[in-house]
């Protein structure tokens, strides 16, 4: 890992964190980010992602290991000397200052001259399309506007690294989507490095260059969004990202790129062995709902198929969501596009389903 230092801008090296000396909140974290990357830390609450962010910002100290910024260890540098911009979940705009004063604050503490300050504040406000709001108090702004100001404040002193702690958590869906786009665009335009923490996977997938999925104090998988979704490395990631069907069984045979899994119901299916290595190992097989086929003509002739009973059909507008009973589970879901030639399955109907072997991943049990 340490060899990556040459190109890494932000680097966690074997970092551990414990609050009480008994439980590790962050276990052996290794992460390295190149300059200009937009990295999202995604995970359920308590997974250690916010703690990592706070260690990077300097509000928590690592119990063990090094955190390096641009090659320099920053463990012992106080937060105000790290020069890292930060956007907080509840914005943390200073309520007793106007918007312009809020933005001017980081420049003032850097002893910048008045005219320079005014110019930078104006530019930063224009950047988030809030140019006319300099005289307002934060309380007079809507949530979305406050978020824009918080963003501008974190950027106004031109940090190379910006941390964002669930910045859009308090906004409604539509606004969130608009701001997701704006933040991503701004980050790329300015070329800044962003570490973004969220528990919203859609946000993580749409905004990031890479996503680090956290669970139990460890990074479970660090990958670009498409890889994360399509090639989950373990069953936690498969479950956590997107909708997923899980079937449990035992590996019966491994042949290079494919393996054969015997499900608990006795059915046999094809899969790619991802982290199963020996015959007889228990496995959880993961199949994305939209990759399941029930039209036999689209399946290859030698593909294994399973019998399924339709339990429920839900019309969702753009897609159909059908719940099936397959191999002893009641919550097997398939999704199909609402196309003119698509068949609408009826509850009680018996069908046969199958998939391409590469879409079916045999993961850890």
């Amino acid at each position: 890992m340490t060899k990556a230092t040459d190109t890494a801008f932000v680097e966690f090296d074997r970092v551990q964190k414990s609050y009480d000396g008994e439980v590790l909140v962050v276990k052996d974290l290794n992460l390295s980010m190149p300059k200009g990357e937009f990295l999202t830390m995604l995970g359920p609450s308590g997974s250690g992602k916010t703690t990592c962010l706070m260690m990077l910002a300097g509000f928590e100290t690592a119990t063990h290991g090094d955190i390096r910024l641009d090659g320099q260890p920053i463990n012992n540098i106080p937060p105000h000397k790290r020069g890292i911009g930060m956007v907080f979940q509840n914005y943390a705009l200073f309520p007793h200052m106007t918007v312009a004063e809020n933005l001017s604050f980081p420049l003032e503490v850097r002893n910048m001259g008045k005219s320079d300050r005014q110019e930078k504040v104006k530019r930063a406000l224009d950047m988030v399309q809030m140019g006319d709001f300099g005289g307002r108090r934060p309380a007079q702004l809507s949530g979305g506007q406050q978020q824009r100001i918080a963003l501008a404040r974190a950027l106004v002193f031109e940090p190379e690294l910006v941390l964002m702690d669930e910045p859009l958590g308090a906004l409604d869906k539509q606004l969130r989507e608009t701001l997701q786009f704006e933040i991503t665009k701004l980050a790329h335009d300015l070329g800044i490095t962003v570490v973004y923490v969220t528990h919203d996977q859609t946000e993580a997938l749409t905004m990031s260059d890479r996503v680090a999925v956290f669970d139990d104090g460890r990074i479970q998988q660090l990958a670009p969004p498409d890889e994360l979704y399509e090639k989950p490395q373990n069953s936690f990631v498969a479950q956590f990202i997107g909708e997923n069907n899980t079937l449990e069984g035992v590996v019966q045979d491994i042949k290079g790129e494919t393996c054969i899994v015997k499900l608990d119901s006795g059915d046999i299916i094809d899969a790619i062995p991802v982290n199963v290595h020996t015959v007889g190992e228990r496995t959880k097989v993961s199949i994305r709902p939209e990759r399941v086929e029930y039209d036999k003509s689209r399946l290859s002739a030698d593909a294994h198929t399973l019998k399924a009973e339709v339990l429920e059909f839900i019309y969702m507008g753009d897609i159909f969501r059908t719940r099936l009973r397959v191999a002893g589970t009641d919550d097997f879901v398939i999704k199909s596009r609402n196309a003119p030639d698509q068949t609408r399955l009826k509850p009680g109907e018996m069908i046969e389903i199958g998939w391409l072997a590469q879409d079916c991943r045999a993961l850890d049990a």
């Binding site: 937060p79 105000h80 790290r82 020069g83 911009g85 930060m86 200073f94 604050f105 980081p106 503490v109």
Partner: protein, 540 residues
């Protein structure tokens, strides 16, 4: 026309107001609907309102009214006050016989009603010695005029009979079972004797339940009669007593007379002292600003308000000291309370609760106990001095005077009022998310800058609320300065208490209290101007 107006037209008559479904004006309907709610709300607060009204607002209003109320002089000495109007204090002479005549009449009534001592005490606030003057005169005033009584009775023994007097002065057709009533016309016949007799009749009836038909008149009534008759008037238009009076009037001229001023001077020399009369004249009006002038170390003189002599000025100094010390107490409460409140707001819940109990502990201990404890701690042979001597900071023969002075008051009151600073501060700090400090630091602020520019301004409402509480409580504090303040550490409220319970000068106490109240309101107003009362938060 906007769509809105079109909508209105559907609901309204062409000209009239909005109507409810039953055709009555909507406003009236709404008011009716709300009236019940309002009445219920009123009923809920009514008991408290009535309680407060009768136990607090009305008594306090009355008390404050005493600061200008001065009816006692004109009530007790009505004719004297009227006669004094023509007297000019500038002459340096005692007033003329008319005033002394009026004084005789007023004083007689006052003595019977036992009002003269009260008046004496009242005027004694303004001039020392008047109290004993009135008390002394009360014992002797009934002798004045005795010489005339004797001469009238010598002239005709009927003058000594109650019945004779009653017939002379009483209304026609009075039967013994009817209450005595004056004849309306005698007032014109006897310009002086009739009022004097009327006062006599009314006083004995009201004070002792006596009937004037059974009681010999006071000597002052004989004096009045003599005054009427000595000018030998012609009794032309009087219905009663004409015959009798025509008989007596000429003989009165030969009476032995007395000099009223001399008679009073006999009782007490002070009665011929113009200063006494000047005091009575100055305080004759029903309302006075005298108490207020006293409260600010000034006094009323015929030429207007004047400063009291330097050595008698205490109140302005006391007000000033009360304010300065209250400010000092408020300041030390802020200094001591702020860090504690900060800890309380930022510690983990369990630890904060323990600390909170420690903060509240003083509330559960009697104020007197706490203050007395300070007495033990602070005295020259007390714990703190012992400790300082033992450590060697202070020499044994040079122990610090920590009590019975301003220092003692500030120390003890800071301790007592500290919770009133900490609690509002805490409740405000509790609402300041730690994210602000983090945000400030992430933006490059040092710990101090983050605190001073970001945290502190947001805690100002708490400081404001705490300060206004502590300051207002301190400015009116009484018990602690009384116990630990000595002479140099007492507040204006101690002086008020003294006037209420010891000197019984309630008027002055009320004036001092009113000024104190006004001061508090002025401070409140100033505070509103500077800090803004909207900025005060007592909770959440």
């Amino acid at each position: 026309m906007s769509p809105c107006n079109t909508g209105d037209n559907i609901m309204t008559d062409a000209t009239g107001p909005m109507m409810a479904a039953d055709g009555r004006p909507l406003k009236a309907s709404l008011n009716r609907a709300l009236r019940r709610q309002k009445l219920r709300a009123l009923a809920l607060i009514a008991p408290l309102l009535v309680f407060i009204m009768f136990t607090f607002i009305i008594p306090i209003g009355q008390m404050l009214f005493r600061s200008v109320e001065n009816q006692i002089v004109s009530d007790v000495l009505p004719t004297t006050v009227a006669a004094l109007e023509n007297w000019d204090a500038e002459t340096g002479q005692a007033p003329d016989e008319d005033v002394f005549y009026a004084l005789t009449q007023d004083l007689m009534v006052a003595v019977e009603k036992k009002q003269h001592t009260r008046l004496g005490s009242r005027l004694n606030y303004e001039m020392t010695g008047i109290s004993s003057l009135f008390r002394k005169s009360g014992r002797s005033v009934d002798d004045i005029g005795e010489v005339y009584a004797d001469q009238f009775i010598d002239l005709d023994p009927r003058w000594g009979e109650a019945e004779f007097w009653a017939d002379l002065m009483g209304a026609e057709g009075l039967t013994p079972d009817m209450p005595f009533e004056m004849h309306p016309d005698v007032f014109t016949t006897f310009a002086r004797a009739a009022p004097a007799y009327a006062a006599f009749a009314a006083t004995i009836a009201s004070e002792d339940g006596d009937d004037p038909r059974e009681e010999e008149p006071w000597n002052s009534v004989y004096l009045a009669l003599y005054e009427d008759l000595k000018e030998a008037p012609k009794f032309t238009n009087a219905p009663k007593g004409i015959e009798i009076m025509s008989e007596f009037a000429p003989q009165v001229v030969d009476f032995e007379t007395i000099d009223l001023a001399a008679e009073f001077a006999d009782i007490d020399e002070d009665w011929v002292d113009p200063a006494v009369w000047q005091t009575i004249q100055t305080y004759a009006p029903e309302f006075t600003n005298g108490y207020f002038l006293n409260s600010i170390d000034r006094q009323k003189t015929p030429d207007g308000a004047e400063w009291r002599p330097e050595d008698e000025q205490i109140y302005l100094k006391l007000f000033w000291r009360t304010m300065l010390m209250s400010l000092a107490i408020t300041g030390s409460c802020i200094l001591l309370g702020y860090p504690v409140a900060w800890l309380l707001a930022n510690l983990p819940m369990r630890t904060a609760n323990v600390l909170m109990i420690l903060v509240l502990l003083p509330f559960w201990t009697s104020l007197l106990v706490r203050t007395s404890a300070w007495k033990v701690l602070l005295q020259q042979q007390g714990v703190i001095n012992d400790l300082l001597v033992w450590i060697g900071i202070v020499a044994d023969d040079n122990r610090l005077a920590l009590i019975n002075n301003a220092t003692g008051t500030v120390i003890a009151m800071t301790h007592i009022l500290l919770p009133f600073m900490i609690l509002p501060l805490y409740s405000v700090m509790k609402t300041i998310p730690p994210a602000y400090l983090r945000a400030a630091k992430s933006l490059g602020a040092t710990n101090w800058t983050a605190f001073w520019r970001v945290y502190f301004p947001q805690s100002v409402p708490g400081i404001g609320a705490g300060s206004i509480l502590v300051f207002i409580l301190a400015i009116g504090y009484y018990i602690t300065p009384e116990i630990v303040g000595g002479t140099k550490g007492v507040f204006i409220s101690n002086r008020i208490a003294y006037h209420i319970s010891s000197s019984l000068n309630w008027g002055l106490a009320a004036a001092l209290g009113t000024i104190l109240l006004a001061l508090v309101l002025v401070f409140y107003w100033l505070y509103d101007r500077i800090v803004g009362i909207d900025n005060v938060k007592l909770g959440g």
